[in-house]
Symmetry: C2
Subunit: 339 residues, 2 copies
């Protein structure tokens, strides 16, 4: 693998991508990690290599189910994913775990954190755990996660679990790259039913009340009934799927079987009525839009002949000498002249 063996600092030779993609398709873990590093790199030469790599992976993907998993901090997502992942692997699946959490940029220790918190799963040869890319904005994180999904599927992973923390727009982002959306909840519904979480509930294909163990078994049942009633108030989904509410205890490995069986039924149902492939098509369209917007802006901001006037006009806008409108129009005119 030549120049990239130990780092991505130098630009590798022409056959590098051929070799790397071959190794990714063979599920070589070192190559996979390197490929992800390439995808997450912000250097322009790496991005163009990453695009080439992904070109080779697209069309060579394993048929997969992409599952989004969300819930507030403390709901037990890590334990759930660890035990659900192990459950799936025992049934012959290969499981990739990705995370979308732009806020984790502040906490660079998240790689270690993920390894520690999913110890048994990370030691499984049929599991691959990758924490959130630390690239800043939600848009950037989303783009890189989407690309990592392709890599994972090319490497033969057939179940992709994408975890996110339950805040604001993260869920919508993860919804836009998954087939099935699972919402984890705590026993004791109450406040959870109201307010801002409604949007997330509407996205869910299933809700699992976790921590249904010990003293919580009864309150989990109550919560299940409350959520079932609440879900009935939402209008029917276009794909004809009726969201399910279940209880589970990730800690005690209880209730994982029904959740998987629910996901299997969902896949069967939506493949039958065409919504599975239709959703993926629409997601591809969004992916194109996001990538297109990204390279359009990149083409402007990385144009060396514009950087001087950008700085100058920025300075003037900061001092309120000209308006953002005048400055932007002038920059657009300059940009057009460069072609």
């Amino acid at each position: 693998m030549g120049a990239l063996d130990n780092s991505l600092d130098t630009t590798p030779g022409a056959d590098f991508i051929d070799t790397l993609s071959q190794k990714v398709l063979e599920n070589d873990r070192t190559a996979l990690a390197k490929a992800i590093t390439l995808i997450e790199s912000t250097k322009k030469e790496h991005q163009s290599l990453a695009d080439k790599l992904l070109e080779k992976c697209l069309g060579n993907q394993k048929e997969s189910v992409r599952i989004g998993i969300t819930g507030v901090p403390g709901v037990g997502k890590s334990t759930f994913i660890e035990n659900f992942g192990n459950f799936l692997i025992k049934r012959g699946n290969k499981v990739a775990v990705l995370t979308v959490d732009p806020s984790s940029t502040e906490n660079k220790g998240s790689i270690l954190g993920d390894k520690v918190r999913m110890e048994t799963l990370s030691n499984e040869k049929n599991a691959f755990i990758r924490p959130s890319p630390t690239s800043g904005s939600l848009g950037g994180v989303a783009r890189k996660t989407r690309e990592t999904i392709i890599l994972m599927e090319a490497a033969g992973y057939n179940i992709i679990l994408i975890e996110t923390v339950g805040v604001g727009q993260n869920e919508t982002t993860v919804r836009d790259m998954t087939d099935f959306f699972l919402l984890l909840k705590l026993p004791g519904a109450g406040d959870e039913l109201q307010g801002i979480k409604r949007g997330v509930m509407e996205m869910a294909d299933a809700i699992a009340i976790n921590k249904a163990d010990g003293h919580n078994v009864k309150s989990a049942e109550t919560a299940k009934q409350e959520f079932s009633r609440a879900l009935h108030l939402f209008s029917a989904k276009e794909n004809g799927w009726v969201p399910k509410v279940m209880t589970c205890s990730a800690l005690e490995n209880k209730g994982l079987e029904p959740i998987w069986s629910c996901i299997e039924k969902f896949v069967e149902h939506t493949k039958e009525n065409g919504h599975f492939s239709n959703t993926r098509k629409l997601q591809n369209k969004k992916w194109l839009r996001q990538h297109l917007n990204h390279i359009l802006l990149q083409d402007f901001y990385e144009n060396p002949t514009l950087s001087a006037s950008l700085s100058l006009l920025e300075e003037k806008v900061m001092k309120s000498e000209i308006t953002p409108f005048t400055a932007a129009e002038s920059l657009l005119r300059d940009y057009r002249k460069t072609y």
Copy 2:
């Protein structure tokens, strides 16, 4: 005011913007409402008129304080803003109330809602209440709110209250267009202190524990102490301001005076050390970036010669016949050729 008197459907004459800006500067309420409609319009000819209007307003603005107000649903934001607004007007200020809430697009009744929920304030001649623009994305809403602030200041409003609901990125957006950020909280801290709300707490220049009335007076005091302790754990702000924690009862008009006095001290402090104007400069820079990104993408997507190839390539990406990377590169090449 000619052609725009009753609607914005037709393109008005050349002196329209002169007349409209003049009336805005005179704080003519009908003109203000019309100007906002122009700003919020998505038609390209309206956008260019809106830019011209804002050019005339920039530099003619009243010296102002822009205050962001956030808190979870149920914390009493409407009551707080209504009574705080009335309090400020009694002291000779002119108060504009804007809202940033992209989710309100789903609920077109929000205009009526805002008028009803702030009845006494909306009848004040020195108050102007404007609900969230219904333009979809957070980026679009932010841009239009930023522009509306300029209008309001040109019309002589010297206190701009910008309300947002406490979800995800909204707060960051509002933080980026205000001088002072006030977080409203409920008595009974507990859960509030942990997890995802930390980022919002770090943004706050002051926290007001609202509903400190009746049975809640004691728990509000406890919450105040807890939040004060929690704030001490954060690193000092660059502007040297130490965030304050207060209690209030918007309903009973209690504790509003200390909040205003805190804001006055903040303004004095940050004007003295230069951070007030420096923050506004950096906000102007961000504003330019946002507007620039908007017109760069608009220039691509509204180019009629590209729409056919965009549709064609979108179709191919949806069917996985080509990758988003190949499609985007090809579109960028086509775009460059148009100049």
